[in-house]
């Protein structure tokens, strides 16, 4: 036990010396939720009125537009496809923002050339263009990540996407699947500078800071509570990811190996790292809780909150252990984690309430631990639920956590520790 405390303490000190990553992750749910609730809080729900000028009539341009105007986005976005007149309409204050998809968008992505989406904001509309920008940024990130990870498969696909021929024979399909596999194998290049970027600018005078802090009050908090739990659950998974990543950092620095040369068993080192991840997740959870507390208006079932949080932490640590154990390498693990978490967060309703989503999404949501975490917290914070009401969430999260923790422990042990941590 003493050794365990010693190891966790050492890691916590190290984290405290280099806390930037953690702070960014923690700031994210707070800012995101605050922005959304400020925008939608206070009675009416103003929509972001987004103009899209698409100069790319190839596949990805269309895909982007359909993403923007999808049902889920429709909750917040009104999308209108415009031509050249878009810019002048923004200047006239006609809409919140204008998203321009450049002419060679699909081609650039498929060929791996840098390209830039641009967003022209209308500052007169206060927070709304901000939201448009945040969402566009997220989309840009996803596209950028996807285009890098899938570089090789896209090279294989390029002739078919860019040309008109759609001659999908068996050989081609197998080529492409091999290429996708390779892509996930060689994702190290992922950490290169972005291929797709978002450039943003404002038009018109900055003078028009308009009426937006109307009645607000309870409405703001309600929206906050609606959004915050989901984003926080997502952030907690990222926190666990950051902490678990440390075992690979130590493996690369040689300190993992050095610990195993000391009078401790490899299993002890892994348990210590899991305990460290859990501690960091716990500290983060407390910080997020304090914020959620301020917003909550009904009394919260403390026991339920605590039990759910412990189950969630178990799931967080288990997921991270499984991902890094399977990946075996720091960079690969980081890429896989970010993709898996984004996917789970979207499908689990962390970002957008799944109530309004198509049936298929609601059907697959329960495979995501994010779903159970989000539902549990929403029930506790917003609906005054008790421990008994959220037992399904607690059960599923604990089960996922335990299974993944065991699996991840075995994988980490095999891939890192047995190899001497080298």
């Amino acid at each position: 036990m003493r050794t365990l405390i010693l190891m966790v303490r050492k890691d916590l000190i190290r984290k405290a010396r280099a806390p930037l990553g953690l702070l960014v992750v923690l700031a994210f749910p707070i800012m995101f939720s605050a922005i959304i609730s400020m925008a939608f809080g206070g009675g009416s729900t103003p929509q972001v009125y987004l103009l899209v000028e698409n100069l790319d009539d190839n596949l990805l341009g269309k895909a982007l537009i359909s993403a923007m105007s999808s049902e889920q986005m429709g909750e917040y976005f009104d999308v209108e496809i415009v031509g050249e007149e878009g810019l002048s309409r923004i200047e006239d204050g006609d809409a919140s923002a204008l998203l321009q998809i450049p002419e060679n968008f699909t081609e650039s992505i498929v060929e791996g050339k840098p390209c830039s989406l641009s967003l022209v904001r209308n500052p007169a509309q206060g927070i709304l263009p901000e939201i448009a920008e945040q969402v566009s940024l997220v989309l840009t990130d996803i596209l950028d990540g996807g285009s890098k990870v899938l570089r090789e498969p896209m090279d294989a696909l390029a002739p078919y996407v860019l040309g008109d021929s759609l001659d999908m024979n068996a050989a081609l399909v197998s080529n492409i699947s091999v290429a996708f596999f390779d892509a996930f194998e060689g994702v190290g290049k992922y950490l290169n500078p972005p291929v797709i970027t978002l450039s943003s600018m404002s038009v018109g005078a900055e003078d028009a800071e308009e009426e937006e802090e109307d009645e607000g009050g309870a409405g703001v908090f309600q929206i906050f509570l609606f959004v915050f739990p989901g984003i926080s659950v997502y952030a907690l998974f990222l926190v666990g990811d950051l902490a678990m990543r440390d075992i690979l950092t130590e493996s690369e620095a040689g300190t993992l190996r050095r610990q195993i040369q000391g009078p401790v068993s490899p299993g002890r080192v892994l348990v210590a790292k899991a305990a460290f991840s859990a501690s960091v997740a716990f500290i983060s959870l407390i910080m997020l809780t304090l914020i959620g507390w301020i917003a909550a208006d009904a009394p919260i079932d403390l026991l339920g909150y605590l039990v759910l949080s412990l189950a969630l932490i178990l799931a967080v640590v288990g997921s991270a252990a499984a991902i890094y154990g399977a990946a075996g390498k720091l960079q690969r693990g980081a890429v896989i984690a970010s993709i898996v978490y984004l996917f789970l967060a979207f499908s689990g309703g962390s970002f957008f309430s799944i109530d309004g989503m198509p049936g298929i999404i609601r059907l697959i949501a329960p495979i995501s631990p994010f779903y159970w975490g989000t539902q549990g917290y929403k029930a506790l914070l917003g609906q005054g639920a008790s421990l008994a009401d959220i037992l399904p969430s607690v059960g599923v999260l604990s089960a996922i956590g335990i299974v993944l923790l065991i699996l991840g422990g075995m994988l980490l042990n095999r891939n890192l520790v047995r190899g001497g941590g080298a």
């Binding site: 010693l6 620095a253 190996r257 050095r258 047995r418």
Partner: protein, 309 residues
């Protein structure tokens, strides 16, 4: 006190360590001397319990490492070839962690930290984060971390590689100091001079095997009474080979483009004949040196290669 029996490790086709056996006696400095790729690090990895041998046994005071790893590892100090430090922590914090891991507490730990810092000359910089250290300072701390708990046996893997001469002298002094205080040392190196000046006994290792073992004197005896003559110049290996084979009672130990080493066969007569034929021959030479029997000539005798950096 430390006994290695028939230890082997393969990496695919490579026999990194190929059935070696040796004993390290309490209190001695035992050297594993071998060129790059000889299998020194692989051996130490097995001795320190992070790499599982394919074959063989490792006994520490008759306790099997495999059977009771934690108990044995508690007695060892390990200094890896690559520095392994927490860069965000200070030297003192690093020492505190590793000391604690080996069970030191409280004032005992504090004393050990101060003593070790002093030993490696890092007291003045003890509070700085390691990432601000120079390469030589990191190496010294790397050494310190293996010594903090005053192990009974310390395994050192080429602790002087890649540092400036001054830091090297400092590290060698520390190792001598450690040995003098009664700690047993297993020291790997590919520097002849280090092995000669530091070690009580030396094992010469190449291709995963121990080719010769003994004290410096014993090894020199094995090298025989033969002086070696090294010539350097602008010649092909084949040319030298032909010339030397014509001279009776001398032996060509190694020949490569521009450099050859020849044994005189231990007789003054052989040396004279050799020199005569060398000067008589049409060899474009620009250097010649005659050396007494040494570890290098033994290594040459055994492997046909020179032990050079």
């Amino acid at each position: 006190m430390f006994q290695v029996e028939n230890l082997s490790k393969r990496y695919g086709e490579i026999h990194a360590v190929d059935g070696i056996s040796f004993q390290v006696r309490a209190g001695e400095v035992y050297g594993l001397l071998g060129p790059n790729g000889a299998g020194k690090t692989t051996t130490l990895s097995m001795l320190s319990g992070v790499l599982k041998p394919d074959n063989g046994r490792i006994l520490f005071d008759d306790i099997d490492l495999h059977a009771e790893p934690v108990k044995v590892k508690q007695q060892l100090g390990v200094v890896p070839q690559e520095t392994a430090l927490y860069e965000d922590l200070s030297a003192r914090e690093n020492l505190k962690f590793w000391g604690g891991l080996y069970g030191l507490r409280g004032s005992e730990l504090d004393q050990a930290i101060n003593k070790t810092l002093d030993r490696v000359g890092l007291t003045a910089r003890a509070k700085d984060a390691v990432k601000k250290y120079s390469g030589g300072m990191k190496r010294r701390l790397n050494l310190a971390l293996g010594l903090i708990h005053e192990p009974r046996l310390v395994l050192l893997d080429e602790p002087t590689v890649g540092i400036d001469p001054q830091a090297r002298v400092n590290i060698l002094d520390v190792v001598r100091d450690v040995a003098k205080s009664g700690t047993t040392v297993l020291y790997t190196t590919h520097y002849l001079e280090e092995a000669e000046s530091l070690c009580d006994r030396i094992a010469i290792m190449d291709h995963g095997r121990i080719l010769a073992e003994g004290s410096l004197d014993e090894l020199k005896k094995q090298a025989g009474e033969e002086e070696t003559v090294t010539i350097e110049g602008n010649f092909e290996a084949e040319l030298v080979r032909a010339k030397i084979e014509a001279v009776s009672s001398v032996r060509l130990l190694s020949a490569e483009q521009g450099r050859a080493v020849i044994s005189t066969g231990g007789s003054g007569e052989g040396a004279v004949k050799l020199l005569e034929s060398l000067f008589g021959a049409d060899l474009p030479m620009h250097g010649i040196s005659i050396r007494p029997p040494s570890l290098n000539s033994l290594f040459l005798n055994l492997t046909g290669r020179e032990l050079r950096d």
